[in-house]
C-alpha cells in the first residue's frame, strides 16, 4: 500500500483529519531524501578500504619503501586522527554520549585501526616486543578499552575485546569463531574463561550503571565465544562441557525474556538444540532414532518458537 492510500484509510476512520492528511502528504512528497546512513556507510567503507589497502601495501613493499617513511606516515595518520578525536571530545559520563561532531567517532576508529597496523609493522620490522607476543596484544587491549570508555565508542570497545581474545590466542570475530582450534583443551578453557569474564563485565556495567549501553556488546561477543568454546569442548573433549553450554543457553533465554531481545532467544534455542542433539545422536548410533528424534524435536522447537511468548510469560 502506498503511503497515500494509507493516509486516506486513516482519514476514512477519522484517525486523522483532512488538514493533517494534506499536510503530511505534502511534507512527505517535498522532503529531501535523507542520505544520512548511506554517507556514514561510505565513510566507513572508505576507512576500511584505506586501512586494508595500507596493510597490504606495507607487506608487499616492505623492502622497497624506506621504513622510516612508512612508520612516519602511519604514525602521522594515527596521531592526527587521535588528536582530532581528542580535541572534539565530550566530558566523560557514565551514560551514552552524543558527540555533536560528525567525524570525531570515525577519526577515533581510523586512529585505532592504523595503530594496529603501526604496531604490527614495528613488531615485524624491529621486533620491539621480541618473543613476548602477549605484550603486542595486551597494549592495544588496554589502550582500546581506555579509549572506548573515554570517548564512548562501541566500535573501539569491540576492537578492545577482539584484542583481549587475541591475547589468549583466540579469534572472536563472529564469522571466524569456528576457525579456532578447539581440539586444544587449553583454548577451550580460555574461550570459556574470557567469554564468561566479558559477560560478567557486561553484567556489572548494567548493575552499577557504568556505560550500561555497552553491556549488549559484552553479552554478544562474550556469550558467543563462551558457548562456541563449550560446544566445541563437548564435541572434542568431555561431555561435561554440555552442562556449561546449557547453563549459558538458559542464561541467553532468560536475558532474552528480560530484555525482549529475540536474537538472544534464537541463539539460546539453536545452540542448545545443536549441543543436545549431538550428545543424544552420539549416544544412540541409530538411524531410525535419528529420524524420529529429528522429526519430533524440530516440531517441538517450531511449537516453542510459535508459542514462546506464552511459554516464557512475555507480555507483548
Amino acid at each position: 500500500m502506498t503511503i497515500k492510500s494509507i493516509l486516506n484509510n486513516l482519514l476514512e476512520k477519522a484517525v486523522i483529519d483532512a488538514p493533517q492528511r494534506d499536510a503530511t502528504q505534502t511534507y512527505l512528497e517535498n522532503r529531501p531524501l535523507s542520505v544520512h546512513s548511506e554517507l556514514r556507510l561510505l565513510l566507513f567503507a572508505g576507512i576500511s578500504f584505506f586501512c586494508s589497502g595500507l596493510g597490504m601495501l606495507i607487506y608487499k613493499h616492505i623492502d622497497t619503501i624506506g621504513h622510516q617513511v612508512i612508520i612516519a606516515f602511519i604514525a602521522l595518520v594515527t596521531l592526527a586522527c587521535g588528536a582530532y578525536a581528542y580535541l572534539k571530545r565530550q566530558p566523560y559520563s557514565d551514560n551514552a554520549i552524543q558527540n555533536p561532531d560528525t567525524f570525531g567517532d570515525y577519526a577515533l576508529l581510523l586512529s585505532c585501526m592504523t595503530f594496529l597496523i603501526l604496531e604490527g609493522y614495528l613488531q615485524y620490522q624491529y621486533q620491539i616486543f621480541g618473543t613476548r607476543y602477549g605484550w603486542a596484544a595486551l597494549i592495544p587491549t588496554i589502550l582500546f578499552f581506555l579509549a572506548a570508555y573515554r570517548f564512548d565508542h562501541k566500535g573501539v570497545l569491540t576492537m578492545a575485546m577482539t584484542a583481549l581474545a587475541t591475547w589468549a590466542g583466540l579469534t572472536i570475530t563472529p564469522f571466524d569463531l569456528l576457525k579456532n582450534d578447539f581440539s586444544n583443551l587449553h583454548l577451550v578453557w580460555s574461550g570459556i574463561g574470557i567469554g564468561t569474564l566479558l559477560i560478567a563485565i557486561g553484567y556489572f556495567s548494567e548493575i552499577k550503571n557504568i556505560k550500561a549501553h555497552f553491556s549488549y556488546s559484552y553479552y554478544m561477543l562474550g556469550g558467543n565465544l563462551a558457548v562456541i568454546a563449550s560446544l566445541a569442548g563437548s564435541f572434542n573433549h568431555t561431555k561435561l562441557f554440555w552442562l556449561i553450554m546449557m547453563t549459558l543457553c538458559i542464561a541467553f533465554i532468560l536475558y532474552a525474556r528480560k530484555t525482549g531481545s529475540h536474537l538472544f532467544l534464537l541463539m539460546g534455542v539453536i545452540y542448545s538444540y545443536i549441543g543436545t542433539t549431538y550428545i543424544l545422536v552420539d549416544a544412540m548410533h541409530s538411524g531410525w532414532f535419528f529420524i524420529y528424534y529429528g522429526l519430533f524435536s524440530c516440531l517441538g522447537v517450531v511449537l516453542f518458537l510459535t508459542y514462546y511468548k506464552k511459554i516464557l510469560n512475555i507480555k507483548s
Binding site: 499536510a23 531524501l33 535523507s34 597490504m56
Partner: protein, 386 residues
C-alpha cells in the same frame, strides 16, 4: 490464501508505525489505528521467523526421510514415475495443509517462517514430482515453463515475495533457452534480457502503486528491485562477455562485439538510477545505483589492469573518506533533494513544519485545533528490538 482484510490492516498499521516513528502521528493516533484496523496475524520478530523457517524446513526434511524409509523397500526397483507419484501425493498433502482452515489459517500465520517454509517446500516438491512423472529432466524448456507456472500461481495466490522473484527468474531463463536456439537470438540476447527486465520493472512499479492490489504490494516491490538489478546485469560487460564465452565454450573469454556499447551501459545505467533516486526520492534507487557503480568498477578492473589491488584500495579508500566528508559537510543544509538529516529525533522541527503548512493551506489560526504533540517519545523505541 491469506485473509486480505488482515493483510490490508497490517499494511496500514505498519505505515502508521513508520509515520509515528517520524513524529507524523502521535501516540493516541497510533493506538487508534491499532484499534480501528485490527490484524490478527501472528506477529513474529525477524529472528523468531528465521528460527521458525529453519526448523520447519528440518521437520519437512525428516518427514520426507521417514516417508521414504517406509516405502523404500517397496519402491526400491520401481521407476522414476512411481517415485514421482509418491512425491506428488506429498505435495498435495502439503498444499492441503496450507489451504486447510483448521490446520493453518486459524493459526494466523502470515510470513511467519512456518508458512513460508511450507509453501516453498510444497512448490518444490510438486515441481520435482512432475519432472519425475513426465520425465522432463532432459527437456529443460518444458520443465522451466512448468516450474514457472507453478511458482507464478503460488506467488499470485500467496502474494509471496520470494516466489514472485523466482517466477521472474524462471521466465528470464525461459527467454534465454528459447533465444539460444537461434543464431540471431544469441546476438540479441543481452538486449532481450534488458528489455525483459525493463518490462518487469515497469509492470511491477505500476502494480505497486495500484491501490486495490495491496495484497501484492510487497511482492511487486521486491520484483521491482530485482528488475533494476537484472536490467543492469543484462547490459553489464562482464556478464555479457562471460555468458557468450560459456555459450560458445571458448575460454578464456574473448572480446565481444559492441563492447563499447556495454561499457556505455555500465556508466549510464547507474547514472539513470541515481537520477531516479533524485526524481522519485526513493532510497532503493540510490542504494542500487551505488551497488551498480561498485560492480562497474570491478568489471573494469577485471579486464584492465589499472593499478595493483593494494594501491587501488588505499587510493579509493582515501577518496571515499574525502568524498563522504565533503558530502556530509555540504549536505548540512539540504540541497538537490538530498539531506543529511538523521532519521529520528526531529519532531519539534516537523511539528512546526506541518503546523505552518496547515496554517498556510487552510488559513485557520487555531494552533490547538490539530492534535499534534506528544512528540518527545517519537523517535525512540527501536533500540531494544534486537
Amino acid at each position: 490464501m491469506y485473509n486480505k482484510f488482515f493483510v490490508k490492516n497490517l499494511q496500514i498499521q505498519e505505515g502508521a508505525e513508520t509515520l509515528h516513528s517520524e513524529g507524523l502521528l502521535n501516540d493516541e493516533q497510533l493506538q487508534m489505528t491499532q484499534n480501528e484496523f485490527p490484524s490478527h496475524f501472528y506477529h513474529a520478530n525477524i529472528f523468531v521467523k528465521i528460527g521458525l523457517f529453519l526448523f520447519t524446513i528440518l521437520v519437512l526434511i525428516f518427514v520426507q526421510g521417514l516417508f521414504f524409509m517406509f516405502v523404500a523397500e517397496l519402491l526400491f526397483r520401481s521407476q522414476d514415475h512411481i517415485w514421482g507419484s509418491f512425491q506428488f501425493i506429498i505435495s498435495i498433502i502439503m498444499f492441503f495443509m496450507i489451504e486447510n482452515a483448521a490446520f493453518f489459517q486459524n493459526r494466523k500465520f502470515y510470513r511467519s517462517g512456518t508458512d513460508n517454509a511450507l509453501i516453498y517446500a510444497a512448490c518444490l516438491s510438486l515441481i520435482c514430482s512432475l519432472i519425475m512423472i513426465f520425465k522432463l529432466s532432459n527437456d529443460s524448456l518444458i520443465a522451466v515453463s512448468m516450474a514457472g507456472c507453478i511458482t507464478g500461481i503460488a506467488a499470485r495466490r500467496y502474494g509471496d515475495m520470494f516466489l514472485s522473484v523466482v517466477t521472474c527468474l524462471l521466465l528470464n531463463s525461459l527467454l534465454f533457452l528459447i533465444l539460444i536456439k537461434f543464431p540471431f537470438g544469441k546476438a540479441i540476447l543481452p538486449f532481450a534480457t534488458m528489455l525483459y527486465w525493463a518490462i518487469v520493472g515497469y509492470l511491477s512499479r505500476n502494480l505497486k502503486q495500484k491501490e486495490d492490489y495491496y495484497y501484492w504490494h510487497d511482492a511487486a516491490d521486491v520484483m521491482e528491485t530485482v528488475a533494476l538489478l537484472g536490467f543492469y546485469a543484462g547490459g553489464n560487460y562482464w556478464v555479457v562477455r562471460e555468458c557468450s564465452a560459456s555459450l560458445e565454450h571458448k575460454y578464456p573469454s574473448v572480446q565481444i562485439p559492441f563492447a563499447a556499447l556495454f561499457y556505455l551501459f555500465m556508466v549510464l545505467i547507474p547514472i539513470l538510477y541515481f537520477y531516479a533516486a533524485h526524481r522519485f526520492k526513493e532510497r532503493k534507487f540510490l542504494i542500487i545505483s551505488l551497488l551498480c557503480i561498485v560492480f562497474s568498477i570491478i568489471t573494469y578492473r577485471t579486464y584492465h589492469a589499472v593499478a595493483p589491488l593494494e594501491i587501488a584500495l588505499t587510493i579509493s579508500g582515501a577518496l571515499l573518506i574525502g568524498l563522504s566528508i565533503f558530502l556530509i559537510q555540504k549536505l548540512k543544509t539540504p540541497q538537490y533533494g538530498f539531506s543529511d538529516e538523521p532519521s529520528a529525533a526531529k519532531n519539534s522541527l516537523l511539528e512546526t513544519l506541518i503546523t505552518s503548512q496547515i496554517l498556510k493551506n487552510h488559513n485557520t489560526i487555531e494552533p490547538t485545533g490539530v492534535p499534534f504533540g506528544g512528540g518527545d517519545t517519537g523517535g525512540g523505541g527501536a533500540s531494544n528490538a534486537f
